[in-house]
Amino acid sequence: MSEHEYTPKSKVGKWFNDRLPLLTLANHLTDYPTPKNLNYWWTFGGILTFCLITQIVTGLVLAMHYIAHADMAFQSVEHIMRDVNYGWLIRYIHANGASMFFLAVYIHIFRSLFYGSYKSPREIIWIIGIIIYLLMMAAAFLGYVLPWGQMSFWGATVITNLFSAIPLVGEGIVTWLWGGYSVDNPTLTRFFTLHYLIPFLILGLVVLHIWALHVPGNNNPIGIDIKKPSKDTVPFHPYIVIKDGFALLMFMIVFAFFVFYTPNILGHADNYIEANPLVTPAHIVPEWYLLPFYAILRSVPDKLLGVIAMLSAILILAALPWLDTSKIRSAVFRPLYKQFYWILVADVLILGYVGAMPAEGIYLLIARIATAYYFLHFLVILPVLGFKERTTPVPLSITEPILGGSPNLAAVKKKDSFKDQ
């Protein structure tokens, strides 16, 4: 961080800043030295902030019209769709906003995986990120229950029943979660409360995430430590602000496409049928962003072990900074890791696909292989690769390959080819 003392120009500004240094903070954020080679994969942090704010604002509005009661929830959502001025728009933004949020967070996470952003000294940023991701999944699940359609009801039943896998106390925990002997009104009201709470927890963690980021500064596509400020950095404003803003605009086009042209494609038609505790829909699947974990759950034949496998698949990410033993951050200089990285991407996509298919025959077999490979990647390949892999030379600075005629020019060029993919 640039530690030059900042003093506001105006007298009033100085008076205020001496008492509450908001202007110092604003100055820190605008002048913040940022690596000048950040590519568009780095714009998803800003995009995610936008997603969070969008969900909070539209969610507050929906809460003004929604009624958290088992007898009225479904009707109130239809009331929002039909009667409330622009209610359809606000609800479609909120529902598709959840999908857009996950789309962005998956890109953000996989960017981190490619460029080794989780490695020392950024472990805390990474772990806070994983916690945010877990809270996002919780919020998404709880929110999906609120319309009280068939998918809401049976999704809630299935997910809460996961806890019944816990030996001895499992059944008791499930009854406690439900506040009764099945998913019913007490479940709905507490889910609404928690769904309202979690985004604000996420907001707090986002502040910590950014605070922790501003200690070492941004990682960058070649993954080296850079001096700040130096020839390798540009001030956050206007350079990154404009770049992030442009990327956000592109993202909003995709977002708007879903909202205005195909608002229900990511949902399930069954959720437009009011919850019925007597009939389960024929094919019950979670939202797309949870499918890989759903596939892992179903690929294990044992109830308890299935739940453990699913949770481990997420929690293993928190241990990633120590499972990846390579000192080189960026995959640009790790020819083998780069290949395994893309295999992992394919593996997760396959898991997502089979998660949406019935758990039988060939799909079950594929799910089992893909699940095994997922754990193999983190528990075996990454630790071993750090010792075995022959990495290509890393430049000393961002400008060195261009200005210094370094032998690494080819390696840096490869970074550009990744961008095009």
């Binding site: 509005v61 019209h65 009331h79 009667d83 409330v84 001025n85 622009y86 209610g87 606000i90």
Partner: protein, 168 residues
């Protein structure tokens, strides 16, 4: 040099203008959602059967969430309301304008002071009396004494037939 600056200024202004329109288009739905929705507007008019009301009786009906007094006035009340001189009134309005059909007074039962519901057949003028801050209304619902600034409001209404009043 100067020419270049002008071009950039234009781009900035154009960008801000488009941005402002976009921001407005996003903010408006968020504001408008708090306005009365379609289900509220659908209840904006109410029909009341008044055939069972005898002279000297008032019924109160709910219209747009507020009480509406429908009073079938006696001939004494009508005479009293019509005999008042306009200069004696705080808010001068002729009874003829307030009750087109003199027998029927249809009036929003909301005190114009701070929104309480006045009591029937009370007060110094045989009309209504507001218990909150002591406003006295006459048999035409006109303010005669107390803090209320204006007469009680006459809503838009019409007789659909001899016995049915449609309010709103």
């Amino acid at each position: 040099m100067e020419k270049k600056t002008k071009r950039r200024d234009f781009l900035f202004t154009a960008t801000y203008a488009v941005g402002a329109v976009g921001a407005g288009a996003v903010i408006w739905p968020m504001i408008d959602q708090m306005n009365p929705d379609a289900s509220v507007k659908a209840l904006a008019s109410t029909e009341v059967d008044v055939s069972a009301i005898n002279p000297g009786k008032t019924i109160t009906v709910l219209w747009r969430g507020k009480p509406v007094f429908i009073r079938r006035r006696t001939s004494e009340e009508i005479a009293e309301a019509r005999s008042v001189k306009l200069e004696d009134l705080k808010h001068p309005e002729k009874d003829e304008d307030r009750a087109k059909n003199p027998e029927w007074l249809v009036m929003l039962g909301v005190c114009t002071h701070l929104g309480c519901v006045p009591l029937d057949q009370k007060g110094d003028y045989n009309g209504w009396f507001c218990p909150c801050h002591g406003s006295h209304y006459d048999t035409s619902g006109r303010i005669r004494k107390g803090p209320a600034p204006t007469n009680m409001e006459i809503p838009e209404y019409k007789f659909v037939d001899a016995n049915i009043i449609k309010i709103g």
